[in-house]
């Protein structure tokens, strides 16, 4: 595989983290168009820790994820009474506020005679930790894939547990879930925190693969795409989110002849899919057949 393919793989992996975070919230019944906020905070925080203070990328990613988990959990608590369109709009507004914050945020240090750090609208460049370690794109890609597989494995275990079932119950009917004794508020906070964590990981890896980030990257469209990936891929399993990302970035962006019409095609496919297969390609019934959801080992 050449460098361009590995680079594409890293992009797919990073966007997969974002799509998984949107998917997790959808499972819990919350449609969020603002997950790009955590992606962006993760990107900035991780990049600052590695570029300005020389932290190890993996430690910096985890610290940034922890910060985002705190923010995500707090916002989930604040927005716990909102569902549907109001929640979607509120998440969108928060993300736009955050992006506005990025455009005003300046924090620089002079490292080896070079001014490094976020510079508002001018963005944050020279994020070179990976290059400074002497890694090539293949090495970096393999590590990112390793993180992705680990997160996927955790998601898979949760989806196949009663916790995962209860999360789905919460997403289908919050009131009935409450009647069952499911602590809806606690679950919402936990989901908000975990989703923020996952998005943050993706943002950190994204910043270090691009070596430059700016506020305009983390716009509304990124958040919308995260949700659309989850829907296209299917809501039956977390693998659906990866499927959606692979479809858009892997296929549509890869094929030269349709690259310039990629967004048009993506939107059209989305609409057709919502009509023909509303729960996505890997919907719940297919996920059950593929044994991706809990089922009885012994049919009664």
């Amino acid at each position: 595989m050449n460098e361009a393919a590995w680079s594409l793989g890293v992009t797919i992996a990073c966007m997969s983290f974002l799509a998984m975070s949107a998917y997790l919230l959808l499972l819990a019944g919350k449609l969020s168009f603002g997950q790009q906020m955590y992606f962006g905070i993760g990107a900035y925080a991780t990049a600052m820790l590695t570029s300005l203070w020389g932290w190890n990328l993996w430690v910096a990613s985890l610290v940034a994820a922890a910060i985002n988990a705190l923010i995500g959990g707090s916002l989930a608590r604040l927005l716990r009474d909102l569902y549907g369109a109001p929640f979607a709009v509120a998440s969108l507004l928060l993300a736009e506020l955050c992006r506005l914050g990025f455009s005003q945020f300046e924090f620089t240090r002079t490292i080896h005679g070079e001014l490094l750090g976020p510079q508002g609208l001018n963005g944050f460049g020279q994020i070179r930790w990976v290059l400074e370690q002497g890694w090539n794109i293949r090495d970096y890609a393999l590590v990112v894939f390793g993180f992705l597989v680990s997160v996927l494995a955790i998601f898979y275990l949760i989806e196949n547990s009663r916790t995962g079932l209860r999360l789905r119950m919460l997403g289908v009917d919050p009131m009935l879930a409450r009647c069952q004794g499911i602590r809806v508020d606690h679950y919402q906070v936990a989901v908000g925190a975990v989703a923020a964590c996952v998005a943050s990981l993706g943002g950190g890896f994204y910043a270090h693969s691009m070596t430059y980030i700016e506020p305009a990257l983390f716009d509304l469209m990124m958040g919308v795409h995260a949700v659309l990936y989850a829907y296209i891929g299917g809501l039956g399993s977390v693998l659906g989110a990866l499927l959606g990302v692979a479809f858009d970035i892997g296929i549509l962006a890869f094929i030269d002849t349709i690259r310039q019409h990629r967004m048009t095609l993506f939107a059209m496919v989305m609409l057709i899919l919502l009509i023909v297969r509303p729960r996505g390609i890997l919907d719940e019934s297919l996920a059950r057949r593929l044994r991706l959801l809990p089922r009885s080992r012994h049919a009664p």
Binding site: D81, A90, L228
Partner: protein, 302 residues
């Protein structure tokens, strides 16, 4: 003092657009339980198609706006067909996602298939601005404000005194009951989709005439603010759309004057977010948005 008056006038004009587009959202939500996020881009596409008449044949603003509204009616019907008739899952999440997809599709098509030249919009009957001392008033702005006040001012009469209005009001309140008394639900819903899109096109056409251009990105900003305005006004009722819309426009203009674009955006976003959180979360009739009421979800007393 003059700056204050100028910002006041600009704020009223901006707020009028929000109120008009917000009413379109309100109408669609009330009759379909859909937040049609594609409304702005559909209306903008219709305006650009109408504008082609001006660029090719040299028609004036009135003809272009009329043509735009007719085209908007047609695209409104088509979007009704896609978003309401064809979509099997019309629950909140699926319909929102479908609306976003339609929005993206329209915006991409407009960006790809209209040249930059097409965004130059027809002027408002060649009328520019009027000056009263140092106060500058655009003719299009005055028309927008008058239109918003007229339409939204007459709305209570229409909804409660006319047969069609009562049918619409009944449909928003209880579709099943409306069907039982013979209201043609499907036809009325189609018409509401078409009227809502046409009204949004009218508002955008006036805005385009005032600015001299109608770029695709304009739809997103107006849509978002009108949408949040609608979400905030839902528990209050349609009567509050105009005052809330005008208020939002005023806050935006004064914030821009006081602290620049960043202050404007931040203050509007924070205000809308606070209103959404504090109002919606505790609204006793939040169920109108298809969201379980606060008491249903939390299992507490009302």
């Amino acid at each position: 003092m003059n700056s204050i008056l100028q910002n006041f006038a600009d704020g009223l004009a901006l707020g009028s657009i929000y109120a008009l587009i917000g009413f379109s959202f309100f109408l669609l939500y009330g009759t379909h339980r859909i937040m049609n996020l594609a409304l702005g881009s559909l209306a903008l596409a219709a305006c650009l198609m109408g504008n082609i008449l001006h660029q090719s044949v040299g028609l004036n603003f009135a003809a272009v706006t009329l043509a735009s509204m007719l085209v908007a009616g047609v695209v409104g019907y088509l979007s009704f067909f896609v978003l309401y008739q064809l979509l099997p899952d019309r629950t909140g999440a699926a319909s929102l996602v479908a609306c976003f997809s339609l929005w993206m599709l329209i915006e991409e098509m407009v960006t790809h298939y209209f040249s930059a030249n097409a965004y130059r919009y027809v002027s408002f009957f060649g009328l520019g601005e009027y000056r009263i001392g140092t106060l500058s008033l655009q003719a299009a702005d005055l028309t927008l404000i008058a239109l918003a006040i007229l339409l939204l001012g007459l709305l209570p009469w229409f909804l409660h005194r006319s047969t069609l209005g009562l049918a619409v009001y009944g449909l928003t309140d209880d579709p099943a009951a409306a069907a039982w008394v013979g209201v043609p639900i499907r036809r009325l819903r189609q018409q509401c989709f078409m009227v809502a899109t046409a009204l949004a096109a009218l508002a955008l056409s006036l805005q385009g005439a005032k600015l001299g251009q109608l770029p695709p990105m304009m739809a997103m900003g107006l849509t978002l603010k009108a949408l949040v305005l609608t979400a905030v006004c839902q528990p209050l009722g349609y009567r509050y759309l105009l005052p809330c819309g005008l208020g939002l426009g005023l806050i935006e203009c004064f914030a821009l004057w006081y602290g620049g674009a960043t202050m404007r955006d931040a203050s509007v976003l924070i205000l809308l977010l606070l209103l959404l959180i504090t109002w919606q979360g505790r609204s006793k009739i939040a169920w109108r948005l298809g969201v379980p009421s606060d008491s249903q979800r939390r299992g507490r007393s009302e």
